[in-house]
Symmetry: none
Subunit: 457 residues, 2 copies
Amino acid sequence: MSSRQSDLQFVRGQKDRYEEELKALCAIPSISSEPAHRADVARAAGWLADRLRAAGMRAVEVIPTGGHPVVVGESPAATPGRPTVLVYGHYDVQPGGPRERWHSEPFDPEVRDGGLYARGAADMKGPTLAAVAAAEAVCREGPPPVNLRWLLEGEEEIGSPSLPAFLEAHAGRLRADTALNLDAGMLGADRPTITYGLRGIAMVELRVHGPARDVHSGEYGGVLHNPAQALAELIAGMHSPSGRVTLPGFYDSVRPPDAAERAEMARLPLTPDNLLAETGAPALWGEPGFLPAERVGARPTLEVNRLTAGPVGEGMMTIIPGQALAHISMRLVPDQDPEEVYRQMRRYLEEHAPPTVRWEAELRGAAQPALVPRDSPATKALDAALETAWGVRPLYQRCGGGIPVVTHLQTILGVDSVLTGFGLPEDNVHGPDEKIDLATWHRGIEAVVHFFHNLAG
Amino acid sequence: MSSRQSDLQFVRGQKDRYEEELKALCAIPSISSEPAHRADVARAAGWLADRLRAAGMRAVEVIPTGGHPVVVGESPAATPGRPTVLVYGHYDVQPGGPRERWHSEPFDPEVRDGGLYARGAADMKGPTLAAVAAAEAVCREGPPPVNLRWLLEGEEEIGSPSLPAFLEAHAGRLRADTALNLDAGMLGADRPTITYGLRGIAMVELRVHGPARDVHSGEYGGVLHNPAQALAELIAGMHSPSGRVTLPGFYDSVRPPDAAERAEMARLPLTPDNLLAETGAPALWGEPGFLPAERVGARPTLEVNRLTAGPVGEGMMTIIPGQALAHISMRLVPDQDPEEVYRQMRRYLEEHAPPTVRWEAELRGAAQPALVPRDSPATKALDAALETAWGVRPLYQRCGGGIPVVTHLQTILGVDSVLTGFGLPEDNVHGPDEKIDLATWHRGIEAVVHFFHNLAG
């Protein structure tokens, strides 16, 4: 087995090669959402399989699914008794988007000012290759410090539709003690970040019905309860004036962050200035008594995603619409349950919908919230790895959104993930001029080397 | 001059032809609000000009305006001293709306169960052609009983923007003692109805802006005021819990109906049972202290005509929309003024819109409310005509909708209108499956023949 120091030595000597490899992978336009790029997605899978083999991995396979393939493989066996890490990554990318907003071709990687600019550089071909590079280092000379298994999918950007069935079909070869997910990014070049919480979601379609059809607002205005108005009244009532969600029991099973966690959250750079600059909103808003970072990460919310009532088009039509629709989603935190929150929504509607309209509600989507224990061996190993690589204590954040694969790994394989990443807020993931900061990326490779060694104990 | 009896005989013999003509006119999708149908609107104007000429009218012209054209013409001169009637009609229609909610094509007229189904059949190609048919009958043999002048516009459904300037420019050729307007409908197949009041309208487009673009509801849910939610809150606040409009000063200039008028209104068949059967709504709603007929005719209202927020499409997208839009229209009664009501709306928004969103409001359309004298010679002639044709005393109603032209004719030409119509409450004007009941329509043609003769004295 190689030593930590020789592994670090090794990766420091390979920077040029790693960068050339990252350019080669980023040059493949593996856009999973565009059927025209299907062959490119497959090409990226093949490229990664070759790279895993070159890195000393065994049983590497590109396994077809109903959609894009999954690349799997494993390291040579570690010393018996060592833990197994399932390394998750994805090799598909978003479309390049408007060419004129890029300063170089999205699929012709270019290094400028220490950044490698290409679609997918940060999300997440760079982080995926960082894990491969670290694995290559620790597998060079005899058994690695930990067993590694690989799960590299090609459908992350389209919602991982084939993944749950794949995990069920291949549960045996994916067994692991922990999963490493480098798709969560970091909050600044000097702010290594561990993401330990993901919000769940309950997505509800609500329809309010009034007259059986759109009717003339002159003929019936004054005698019918307009369903668009009734929907507005119902939605308005879903928050208290102060901004708390009013669904009955909504907060009952919310696990409040403890003092230590709140102190960690107060360190996060989710300041009002940053949030306003990022969104262009005129002011912040939200539940009183909690910091922005807490409101986004540790508190549940209710959002109207879509409103529709009345005929489509531009012109004003003086009708009372026959129905009005809202898509409403609740972001959930432990220990909320999406089905229970949906029942709370129905209870709210039963209590507040007036008899002058009818309503229907349907649960359109659900995901459990996730919290990864902050005191698990894997989290501690990651914490120490990041602190060693960066020389600062990592930040701990809860992510306001969900990462479906984390939930799938937890529910289907029973494996908890540890999440970090080497993409920066300014790396413009999903936007033009996506890049990865190369110094940060190389530091990230070292951090993964540390993580593997730390986990070995 | 032909006799009343021979004229009635004549129209009774032409029913098939009249129906074919109505089908031909309804087959033209003369949707004034959609630029793509501009040529169709012009085609409908040309069709009507031809029909007027075939009916024996003179000086028929299709006169261009800044918008859609106006068709004018006149009858051969009546015996000197006879009054002149300005017959108003419109040949433009609302869009068909969602095709799947129609049982036949909106612009491929179909007769089913005694009704002719097509967009515009009742509103108001049918009533317009009824007047043309009656005019043809009374002009067949020598001078007609009264002088007729025609004013057929193509912009009624978009608020008649070109009409005021047109009336001013052509006041000379439109001079008349009274105007006949058949755009007001009737309250049942056995309930001929004279409409003597019209509600005005103020149409407002309200946009609420939050973040500069749609943003991820996971990343920002909890720190931004969702503009769709803020819009719902603003709309919800526009009515008190009891159903009164809360815009500041909204009821200040509302003229209350007197006791006699309230007694007439109590005769109207706007019973809860009828209104529920017509609309399919689960219950009635509205301002306390007033009968349904009063709430529709003599009280102002505020309606949400359209709500839009979030991306178009079916799938749920977990975003906070960058903006939300509502089309809101206020139906007005004397002596409210649309511009003043628009200012009340702005005042409401200034007082209630939170600083966490931005808003814009625009007055998209306006019409003054109108009240027509109930004791004029023309009203009496119409009263007798309807009673003769139907064998029952007509009802008197204030119409909940507006007919801007009535106001324009009164203020610009100094001509009062008498209003009735042959569309029934169940004819679904502006909705899917619009129709006209053919037996009612033919009876209406006879009523117009009677009206022309009655007015001659």
